[in-house]
């Protein structure tokens, strides 16, 4: 009997549950210098905004203990150049392609969702709601269940493909946000985006990031991500995509047992571009060793310890 790694998110069949995370994999082209990215379950693009953005000035990255801070600031080519320059490559892929979108107003999101979801080759839209909502005073869309629901309801109306909100961990009650976007029609959720953090250069008495604050990612945040994934997966019916600090097949098994139907890998691919393949391998080995024939058998399997 063969081993099946296939899993399904919002009607999308993934050949395995391993995806690349937004902002850590460009638009996919760079990775082809290392491996055939059709071996992935899927890939998620960098967040696309209506217009191109250069993002924050350097310095915009800091290393921290088992983690890193980034204040890249949504550097991206913007919608038009995405369509002209990046889409043709994505259209040739056989793995699932998820395009991540970000905006400052509900209008930004619906415009992006409408246009991008009608492009051939785009299988789903991931909605980055960790951006400051200019219409409501700069607080993140993802910071309140009501605001999150508002943007997702609008995106859902505009989109022809499944809509996957990406939740911010910087909230008191992520389950409330997840339920709100579920009610608003979300087809799945992915979590977590980065935790807000900072670092100071004590020689210059300055913030190490031009933007003062950045987002913390990497193995340091894994326990936080895993707890949130478990809580959300236990509370909603839509599939959950787990992300945060994953760098091994064993990490993937933890997220799947916590209830994630798929996972994304971000920071870990910086040092090891082929981490995805190693992780798929390690996941298979774990399943075989423990006599599972189907990866779905471990999803949500965790019991009290």
């Amino acid at each position: 009997m063969g081993l099946s790694l296939q899993t399904e998110i919002a009607g999308l069949k993934l050949k395995n549950p391993i995806l690349s995370a937004s902002g850590c994999f460009g638009y996919g082209e760079e990775a082809t210098e290392f491996f055939d990215i059709n071996q992935l379950g899927g890939m998620v693009t960098k967040s696309i905004t209506p217009l191109p953005r250069t993002g924050h000035p350097p310095p915009k990255v800091v290393e921290t203990a088992s983690g890193m801070l980034n204040a890249i600031g949504l550097t991206n080519v913007g919608l038009d150049r995405f369509i002209m320059e990046k889409l043709p490559f994505l259209q040739k892929l056989s793995c699932t392609v998820i395009v991540n979108i970000a905006g400052s107003t509900v209008n930004d999101y619906t415009m992006l969702a409408g246009k991008i979801s009608s492009l051939e080759g785009v299988d789903a839209i991931e909605v980055n709601i960790s951006c400051p909502n200019v219409d409501s005073g700069g607080l993140e869309f993802g910071a309140s269940p009501a605001e999150a629901a508002k943007v997702i309801r609008a995106v859902k109306k505009a989109s022809r493909v499944p809509v996957i909100p990406k939740l911010s961990p910087n909230v008191t009650d992520i389950v409330a946000v997840a339920k709100a976007v579920e009610d608003a029609g979300a087809d799945a959720v992915s979590l977590i985006n980065t935790l807000v953090g900072t670092a100071i250069d004590i020689q210059t008495t300055r913030f190490k990031l031009s933007n003062r604050f950045g987002g913390l990612s990497g193995p340091a945040v894994k326990p936080v991500a895993l707890a949130m994934v478990y809580k959300v997966a236990s509370a909603v019916k839509i599939p959950v995509i787990g992300v945060g600090g994953i760098s091994s097949g064993d990490d993937v098994v933890e997220f799947l047992m916590a209830g994630a139907k798929a996972v994304q890998i971000g920071t870990a691919c910086f040092a090891e571009p082929t981490v995805f393949l190693r992780v798929i391998d390690e996941l298979s080995t774990y399943l075989k060793k423990n006599n599972y024939q189907n990866v779905n058998d471990i999803i949500g399997a965790v019991k009290d310890g």
Binding site: C24, E30, F34, L51, T54, V61, I72, T75, A268, A271
Partner: protein, 275 residues
């Protein structure tokens, strides 16, 4: 295809208390890398540090890629204790590398600190191709003698070479850009048809100085930035450079983002924006 994997360290040379070279076995990198390109190195098992570290290719011989390293922090400190037979995780080669000069033009190489290895590789490569050593002027500076990446290697090339140290512990005392600026003024008033080609590599402050000195001349500068990935996916190394006509960005017009790891590390001095 670029390489990503575990490699063996086949040799180690300690050059001074602070400088050392590691030879690593990687046919795939050896067959591709050109001067100015770099590789990313990670020590397996050091889990609290996530990013690999960039080092320029110093030399290639058969399947062996050599990098020269200055001990100056967490990872380079640990690399100093790596020995023959140990393994490293390596990816690369990355970056655009230097555009080789047309035969016959006079060349100025200006290296500060860790800028020396790639320029030495460049110099050796063009000499091998038959470039006349008489046309090559090599300026290399360090803070003090123990931070000089090479010395005998440099003098044995037969090129004009000037070495400086900030504290005068070796060669001329002062910044490397000073003798370079002096010499260049002389040449400048010379009869060199196409003009000289200048290659600079080192800390930001130094390459900026080179850019000022070389205003209007053909000058290539290799930049240093923090490099979380090295293969172009994180945007952590990106800097603004002057944009072509067709570029428009939300934040500013006339600028364009360039990833130092991908579109660089070598840029034309005239493209760069200093602020």
């Amino acid at each position: 295809m670029k390489f990503s994997g575990s490699v063996e360290v086949s040799g180690k040379t300690v050059i001074s208390r602070n400088i050392f070279s590691l030879d690593i076995v990687s046919p795939q990198i050896a067959s591709q890398a050109s001067p100015g390109q770099f590789i990313q190195v990670k020590i397996p098992g050091i889990n609290s540090v996530l990013w690999p570290r960039p080092f320029s290719v110093r030399k290639i011989k058969d399947d062996i890629v050599t990098v020269s390293i200055k001990k100056c922090g967490k990872v380079t400190g640990l690399l100093y204790d790596i020995n023959r037979g140990d393994r490293l995780y390596v990816t690369g080669p990355f970056g655009n590398g230097f555009i080789l000069p047309q035969m016959g033009r006079s060349i100025y190489l200006v290296a500060g600190g860790a800028g020396l290895p790639p320029l030495l590789f460049l110099c050796e490569s063009i000499l091998e191709k038959g470039y006349s050593p008489k046309l090559i002027h090599f300026y290399s500076g360090a803070r003090y003698v123990e931070e000089l990446f090479a010395n005998d290697e440099l003098t044995s090339l037969g090129v004009h070479s000037v070495v400086t140290t900030d504290d005068g512990s070796y060669g001329i005392k002062g910044l490397v850009t000073e003798p370079f600026a002096n010499d260049l003024t002389k040449v400048h008033s010379g009869k060199d048809d196409l003009g000289p080609v200048i290659y600079g590599c080192g800390p930001m402050a130094m390459v900026k100085k080179v850019a000022e000195i070389c205003h209007g001349l053909e000058c290539y500068l290799s930049l240093e930035q923090l490099m979380p990935c090295g293969w172009g996916v994180c945007n952590g190394c990106a800097v603004k450079i002057k944009a072509g006509d067709s570029d428009n960005t939300e934040d500013e017009k006339g600028f364009r983002l360039a990833r130092v790891c991908k579109e660089g590390p070598v840029f034309k001095a005239s493209e760069l924006i200093w602020d």
